[in-house]
């Protein structure tokens, strides 16, 4: 029965490395596909926005843990061997894109209709209208919510333990089961997460204030 010493702390920091890598994967994948989902959701094409809505309902409505499980082991059951990294990338992308898609849909829809109309009246085609006019404004509006989600995603990476990643939380559990000091271990883990997430939250809040000031 070990005590919590330097070794244990280093072990936790090893976990932290994975936590950050996993969050980054989720955010990049979720960002790219989330944009697609958001655009589907604001499309005037019924088939597109219905599929967008169904996508969001399914992947917001099931626990991330189960998504990871199904992607990693469920597909494995079909005889396809999925690499843990790929499983994590897929599951986090599904999860994050559903949430980001919904957040960004809100952002896009809160850009006044007049902006789209002005773009159209100037002859701008769809891509330019989205890229130059709507998305920059939508992103600004949804930035605080986006950062809020990123923080939740950082914490959500703990679930990747199910496919074998020894990230921060799992490392904590392992240390806790060696030292039998779960309270102390989880207090340390909480502090590490806080140190990771708080700057993000602060950045989001300052962004929110800047936006509030910019809007007259």
């Amino acid at each position: 029965m070990a005590n919590i010493g330097v070794n244990e702390l280093l072990f936790l920091l090893q976990g932290l490395k994975w936590t950050i890598a996993l969050a980054a994967i989720g955010f990049v994948g979720g960002g790219i596909f989330g944009l697609g989902v958001a655009l589907m959701r604001v499309s005037t094409h019924a088939v597109l926005w219905r599929s967008g809505a169904a996508y969001i309902a399914v992947f917001q409505g099931t626990p991330l843990l189960m998504q990871l499980f199904v992607v990693y082991y469920g597909i494995g059951l079909l005889g396809v061997n999925v690499d843990a990294w790929i499983a994590v990338a897929i599951a986090f992308t599904l999860h994050a894109s559903a949430f980001l898609g919904e957040i960004w849909r809100g952002g896009i829809q809160s850009v006044p209709k007049g902006q789209t109309e002005a773009g159209k009246a100037l002859g701008l085609h769809y891509v330019s209208r989205m890229k130059d006019v709507i998305l920059p404004q939508a992103l600004k509006i949804s930035l605080p919510a986006t950062i809020g989600f990123l923080v939740q995603l950082v914490k959500g990476t703990s679930l990747a333990a199910i496919v074998g990643f020894v990230e921060l939380s799992r490392a904590g559990q392992i240390v806790s089961n060696q030292t039998f000091r779960p309270l102390m271990v989880f207090a340390i883990i909480g502090a590490i997460y806080f140190a990771l997430c708080w700057p993000l939250s602060l950045w989001g809040a300052s962004m929110e204030r800047r936006l509030a000031k910019a809007a007259r």
Binding site: P112, E117, A118, L122, H125, P136, Q137
Partner: protein
Amino acid sequence: MPNNQSGSEQALIALEGVEKWYGAFHALKNINLSVRKGEKIVLCGPSGSGKSTLIRCINRLEDIQKGRIVVEGVTLDDTGKTVDAIRREVGMVFQSFNLFPHMTIMENCMLAPMRVRAMSKADARAVATRYLGKVRIGDQADKYPAQLSGGQQQRAAIARALCMEPKVMLFDEPTSALDPEMVKEVLDTMIGLARDGMTMICVTHEMGFARQVADRVIFMTAGEVIEEARPDEFFRNPRHDRTKAFLGEILAHH
């Protein structure tokens, strides 16, 4: 009203038997209108009569259910191609400006020329500078819309539309969001444009403006055009009772 104008000048815009429904609501009823190059039309009528709807149909911000809209020989149909072609030739100025808040005035003006006309940055800047000068806000080019007064914003919106060098300009109550003192500067800008020979369709209740520049005043009510006349005639001798009542009220408390 098939196109039986003097013939020397072809109609730049022609609406033939246009009908528009919003769901069950009949918003435009058998609209026939033809506008020659250089002509200035003022559109007025009570609230909800379909003025905005009409001009929004011309550049296809609304679709129509029946009839035909032809702009410079191109008939608007459901293909993106004709819509694009027409929007390139038709500029529009909204009541609420609709400037892009995240771009400076200069960037607002350069965007469409660069993206739609594939102009180089330098060329787009030159064009923008010219038109911003024309509406006399050249010195505001590097500000953001929120830093401008209402009148300046509206003039920037006019410049932005002009940068596409459209054949026609559509104005939808361009002064009604402005306070009394700012109305004048925008009207002056529009009068300047009219003098330069721009073809214009303008929804407005500024009767002084109508008197001064309009070739024709068109009065709508309940989705129909019920009166169409030269301004002097229109003000002096309106034919319909509805027009008389409306004019009475508009002129009364001024």
